[in-house]
Symmetry: C2
Subunit: 433 residues, 2 copies
């Protein structure tokens, strides 16, 4: 099976690894302009523009936004229609996701200093959040749970979910997941027009405070353009996994774990790091044998050939160094003492520990979020979480004595900056002693 084979001792290893993992964050100026025009139009014309763009891009025939609203009854009906086994699996997954995310809740705190001055941090939830859930062939019910549950746990006042339905096709399992996650209605819109509607509001769509969730290039560009008017989460690139293996796992398991990433789409990236050349050969043999048994064989072959790699490292320490350089979205540590090795990982979206923890379990139901930082953004960002739906206000409450002491510090600093009103405002609070 065709994929890249690299060794960390290759003279051109760094350059080849860089080339293989490069993902251009460059934007296409045509996309930028088209998205800008769509946003302006939705701001100006509201629902009318939103219906027009939806009809055009999703091949719908709506005459009115009301036809694009999927209400609570429709969501419950979908929940009743899906197979009982799917419903039960979604409910177990939702409960595990909820239980994990509850631990992410940030609480307000305050304390008093020796002067009796109160200092603290007041934590509040967003009033309204917009969730973008991709539609069409990338419609994943698990994504509904992963986006909606953290917002709910945070205590967001209102959750507005949008998800396009190309050709009017609705995915019952997606709607059922919305019902289980407690979403009260879904708007069947997508693309830049949905992001514009969430950011600025229309007659039907309430303006939200933050928009989260992955989407295609138009959605990503629209999020970038509305950033500032609303908050956004990280802009997602193609999904990736790095598997580190000590050579003692079943090669079939490792091959299938790599494929579970590669099957997402042609641009997905699956990389194995291992210090055992014979094991790498065994994995490659497993891949060749197993790929023919999979529905998405063509996609897997393309992504493994274009962006996949089996990399021989000097040892496991070096493998972890490469991990920290790549800052992967998903990291599987299929090795002994995975918990100890994880402590050396500085950058990764999610870390899957040990031979019994394939990424697929995390994608659906382990508990942690599956919306993760891609394209090395784990260097500075985190999985989607409850913290994305909470924000903080500083609290400062000076006692008269505390104010006087602080004024004595602030006044000379303010005067050194030429800010006399700041100094005078502080000096009013000085107490003559």
């Amino acid at each position: 099976m065709n994929t890249h084979r690299l060794s960390s001792t290759d003279a051109d290893f760094d350059a080849r690894l860089d080339a293989l993992t490069a993902w251009s964050e460059e934007r296409d100026s045509e996309v930028t302009e088209r998205v800008h025009a769509i946003i302006q139009d939705v701001r100006r014309r509201g629902d009318a523009a939103l219906v027009e763009y939806t009809n055009r891009f999703d091949r719908r025939q709506a005459t009115d936004m009301a036809e694009l609203v999927i209400d609570a009854d429709a969501l419950q009906a979908a929940l009743a229609r899906i197979p009982a086994a799917h419903r039960e699996a979604l409910e177990i997954a939702a409960e595990r996701v909820r239980s994990y995310h509850r631990r992410q809740l940030t609480e307000s705190w305050q304390y008093r200093d020796e002067d009796g001055t109160l200092l603290g941090q007041q934590v509040t939830a967003l009033d309204r959040a917009g969730l973008y859930v991709p539609g069409g062939k990338a419609a994943y019910p698990s994504s509904v749970l992963m986006n909606a549950i953290p917002a709910q746990v945070a205590g967001v006042g209102e959750v507005v979910m949008v998800s396009p339905s190309p050709d009017g096709e609705l995915n019952d399992t997606v709607l059922a997941a919305a019902a289980i996650a407690g979403v009260s209605r879904v708007l069947s819109i997508g693309g830049a027009q949905a992001v514009a509607a969430l950011a600025y509001g229309t007659e039907t769509v309430p303006a939200v405070d933050k928009i989260v969730g992955p989407g295609n290039i138009y959605v990503a560009e629209a999020k970038r353009q509305v950033f500032g008017k609303v908050g956004i989460d990280m802009i997602a690139g193609p999904s990736e996994i790095v598997v580190v293996c000590d050579g003692h796992s079943d090669p079939d398991w490792i091959a299938m774990d790599l494929f579970s990433q590669a099957e997402h789409d042609e641009e997905a990236q699956a990389i194995l790091l291992c210090p055992d050349a014979a094991f790498i050969d065994a994995v490659q043999a497993s891949m060749a044998r197993l790929v023919t048994t999979l529905e998405r064989e063509t996609i897997i072959r393309t992504s493994m050939a274009d962006r996949g790699a089996l990399i021989l490292t000097r040892d496991l320490n070096e493998a972890i160094e490469v991990v920290n350089r790549l800052a992967p979205e998903h990291l599987e540590l299929s090795m002994a003492d995975a918990e100890q090795w994880a402590k050396k990982v500085r950058h990764a979206g999610a870390i899957f520990l040990g031979r019994h923890t394939p990424e697929a379990l995390g994608d659906y139901c382990a508990g942690p979020n599956h919306v993760l930082p891609t394209s090395a953004t784990a260097r500075f960002s985190s999985p989607l979480g409850v913290y994305d739906f909470q924000k903080r206000s500083s609290l400062i409450g000076c006692s008269p004595a505390g104010a006087s002491r602080l004024a004595a510090v602030a006044s000379p600093l303010a005067r050194s900056e030429g800010l006399t009103a700041h100094a005078r405002s502080a000096e009013y609070r000085l107490i003559e002693s």
Copy 2:
């Protein structure tokens, strides 16, 4: 003194308030293109481009980036040169800021579920952070402390501070603050070119993972454009304060508190909300008398006339409703029971409680950060904090029994999504019972 007078009972109150507080987040396409060109040029030509732009925009005559580096010795020399009172004030401020921010540290956590499966969140610091500190007439030593200390407390590996020196003018107090904050060197560069250098790296400037700190429109646009390659904090608009007063504070104090915001620049915004018309008259009289005594009288007169307002509300409850609508950067609650009233505030960057807590104390030394969300972005964002320099990785470590149980949930969900490799990867971990 000229400023807007509004009453919440005015028929056109909502429209007037919206107009007064409107701040266009629209970008100028010429700025967008100029910034894009600068970024591309710095990416391509590195230090050479950086020196050229710095010479042009800051009116410097550097021949080499080395001339634009202010090293640790120069920072220490500045610290030795400033007046002892300033040094002491900076040191007290730094210690209070450090003490407050330590309480923001997020710790890693983990737990095991009933199957022995480990779930958790591993918290790590950024490897490298870039701090943008404005230069020239807006060079504030306090901003150095407020940017650098949270990064340090978070445990960031390397902090790279940039601050432009128009006409080569260096502010000793700014350099001294950098020394006190433990910054090891300052690069005397600014504008879009400095943001580009921090995002992509040059021969002299190491590429960072996140860029924080306020700047002018070119800096803001550059941050927006490099977002994704690196993390950024919120994009700052003009500074604002809303003061809520019950009518029982000294009107001179309130007038000066409003002025301490208005003196920042012509676009700064200072608003008073009060249910007592006679008190509002008294504040306006104080303003007329006090403004003539201030160095920045002209700036204050302009910002109060253009963007300031004294607003009569029906009662204090309505005043807090207006606060939640405005989501102000700074909120002063100059009233009895301020702590109780603060609990009704859903959106504000920092809340100053009681008559003895003017914003100026928070700007310099109370402890909480003075880099705060402006232009109503407190609806979804927080003060700059230690959390801006930390990120999280999810931890999942399945026991064999736990993996088997989760695989039974994941498998049907994966098959319902048509992801066979996901299902097969999970099914390998099923244990026949």
